[in-house]
Amino acid sequence: MKIVKTGMAGTLESSDVMITVRDNNGKGIEIHLQSIVEKQFGNQIRKVVQNFLERFSVEEGLIQINDRGALDCTIEARLAAAVYRAAGKSDYDWENL
């Protein structure tokens, strides 16, 4: 999926995550992670995000993550929403989500 605008999803409430996806001016994928459980789950969160981006062929984008202790399934849900919004698409691929 191609990122064409800024897409944001999620909240800053406990157990949630706010993710912003925007165009990265041709610099590929860049992930900025800020998390209250960075030390314990930072690597895991990055892995979940990278895995999703690969699965959905997102090759370019600046991903800003402000995590308040979200579970992996919440991170994926927020990322999916932000990516679809940023791609301006609504033909959701539920089978692969």
């Binding site: 157990s15 030390k39 314990q40 789950f41 308040r68 202790g69 979200a70």
Partner: protein, 512 residues
């Protein structure tokens, strides 16, 4: 024979008694009263000193000495910052601070440590910025973390030798009788401060409320006190006590409280005359509401409740469900009112409460205690001092004291907080050893320490959701995932002392 001051002939020595000292005048051996009483004026004796600085000079405080503070003013404490600022300006160095605990009101210590005014801390707990800085290696000497009972033991045995105790009090007369429940800065029980007053070399009271002599009933008494300083405010009332603690409306806390009450009533310890201690957390306080229901239904009354006392416990007392309250620390305005008003709401000091080496402390007579946890491991060891990121953010308090003293120690905590599991393979820091913990209550099930099989059988029979603690650990891990281990440096920033004075664990500097 010698002639004494009045001209009477006194023998120098008498067999079986020994040498005799002849009278040398009414004032010569009691220097404290000499000057004033000599005038035969009205008894205007007082110990008032004009300023903090003057009193520090008078106590003879020097580099390297140990000074103490109490934490009854909690987050509203103004005494420690006030005294430390003056000491710092006077240029005194290398002090040890032995505080009963340190709260978010004490972040200013960071600067005093950096400047060299303070070189060592002995305390039950540390929070906020000070705790973070210490975890990041602020101090050269590790902080000593003790329990409330352990501190009393340390002071009474001389392990902690206090040179000067600076004790804020909400009311005091000119001669040093002080209590905690009168005045605008009322904090209720002065239980922790009483140990310092009894054992410190020099005792300075600081108050914002001088009252008529004698200030009875008193917690700290005139015979212990060297000097008194009057200041504008000893604390910020809003930080000292919360408004009357109300039963929470948080559904998770209520769920936990209901489970805890089920655990208590099915444990075998719920019988006429039982005794109980609850903490100040939402779930712990709410347990009183559910217990009351069961007490009413089965016509069971408790003989006494211990510990930090809060409003809901007072209500049970005043409504006749608990005969007596033993109070080392009053958590809210209701408890503060009650300790002044109720004959059988008694103040106790920290040694009476939990000192393991005195002739008998209250925790030894306790049936049931409800405690919290930041982490608990599959061996039931409990951490209440460091967060899951390894940073100090809590207090040892009476945790290990009551866990071992009580017949039934219950730990209550949500299984998962955000993305952090409470039940893990090995806790970051052990405060209370698993061998003194009986039951874990989480919002997703209960676990019983295998050493208490008989209790487990009772819970199973009552249909409570009992799991093995390993099951709970795995259940949580399935939801949150497996965390990467926290990285620490070699440097030890904290020593955790068990209540008997041995070292149960160390806290290391966190890697950033």
């Amino acid at each position: 024979m010698t002639e004494n001051e009045l001209g009477r002939m006194i023998p120098k020595k008498i067999d079986h008694i020994g040498k005799l000292l002849p009278f040398e005048g009414a004032y010569s051996h009691t220097p404290l009263v000499k000057k004033e009483k000599g005038n035969r004026e009205l008894p205007k004796l007082n110990k008032l000193i004009n300023s903090i600085e003057e009193v520090i000079v008078k106590t003879g405080l020097k580099d390297g000495m140990t000074i103490s503070f109490h934490h009854h003013f909690r987050n509203g404490d103004k005494i420690l910052p006030m005294v430390m600022n003056v000491i710092s300006e006077m240029g005194i160095k290398d002090l040890t601070i032995a505080a009963s605990s340190l709260t978010s009101a004490h972040s200013g210590l960071v600067e005093h440590i950096k400047k060299g005014t303070v070189k060592r801390l002995i305390t039950s707990g540390i929070r906020g910025r000070l705790a973070e800085e210490i975890s990041n290696g602020l101090m050269d000497i590790p902080v000593l973390i003790h329990s409330h009972g352990g501190r009393a033991r340390g002071i009474e045995t001389g392990q902690i030798k206090i040179d000067v105790a600076f004790l804020g009090v909400p009311s005091c007369d000119v001669y040093g009788n002080a209590n905690g429940y009168t005045g605008k800065s009322a904090c209720g029980s002065l239980g922790y401060a009483r140990v310092d007053a009894a054992y410190a070399e020099k005792v300075v009271l600081i108050t914002d409320n001088i009252v008529e002599y004698p200030n009875t009933p008193f917690s700290i008494h005139q015979d212990q006190v060297d000097a008194i300083v009057v200041v504008d405010e000893v604390g910020d009332p809003e930080g000292i006590s919360t408004d009357a603690v109300r039963i929470t409306k948080n559904p998770r806390d209520l769920l936990l409280a209901e489970l805890v009450s089920e655990v208590v009533i099915n444990s075998g310890y719920f019988e006429p005359g039982f005794s109980i201690q609850t903490g100040s957390g939402g779930a712990s306080v709410a347990t009183t509401r559910f217990l009351r229901q069961h007490m009413e239904n089965r016509d069971i009354k408790a003989s006494w409740a211990l510990g930090g006392i809060s409003g809901p416990m007072v209500k049970l007392h005043e409504d006749g469900f608990i005969n007596r309250l033993l109070d080392v620390q009053s958590f809210d305005t209701e408890a503060i009112r009650s300790i002044g008003a109720n004959r059988y709401h008694s103040e106790i000091d920290a040694s009476y409460y939990a000192n393991p080496l005195n002739k008998g402390c209250a925790v030894n007579k306790l049936n049931v205690v409800i405690l919290s946890a930041l982490e608990i491991d599959t061996n039931f060891n409990v951490n209440v001092i460091t967060g899951s990121d390894g940073v100090i953010r809590g207090a040892s308090g009476g945790h290990s004291d009551t866990a071992i003293g009580s017949g039934l120690s219950i730990i209550v905590a949500p299984l998962i907080r955000g993305r952090t599991s409470t039940v893990i393979d090995s806790v970051q820091t052990v405060i209370t050893p698993g061998s003194t913990v009986d039951v874990l209550v989480t919002d997703r099930g209960i676990a019983v320490n295998p050493r208490r099989e008989e209790i487990k059988a009772r819970f199973m029979k009552a249909g409570l959701p009992v799991y093995s603690i390993t099951d709970l650990k795995e259940k949580a891990e399935k939801i949150v995932g497996k965390p990467d281990p926290i990285k620490f440096r070699k440097k030890i920033v904290g020593l955790v002392e068990y209540r008997d004075g041995t070292i149960i664990d160390v806290i290391r500097q966190v890697e950033n």
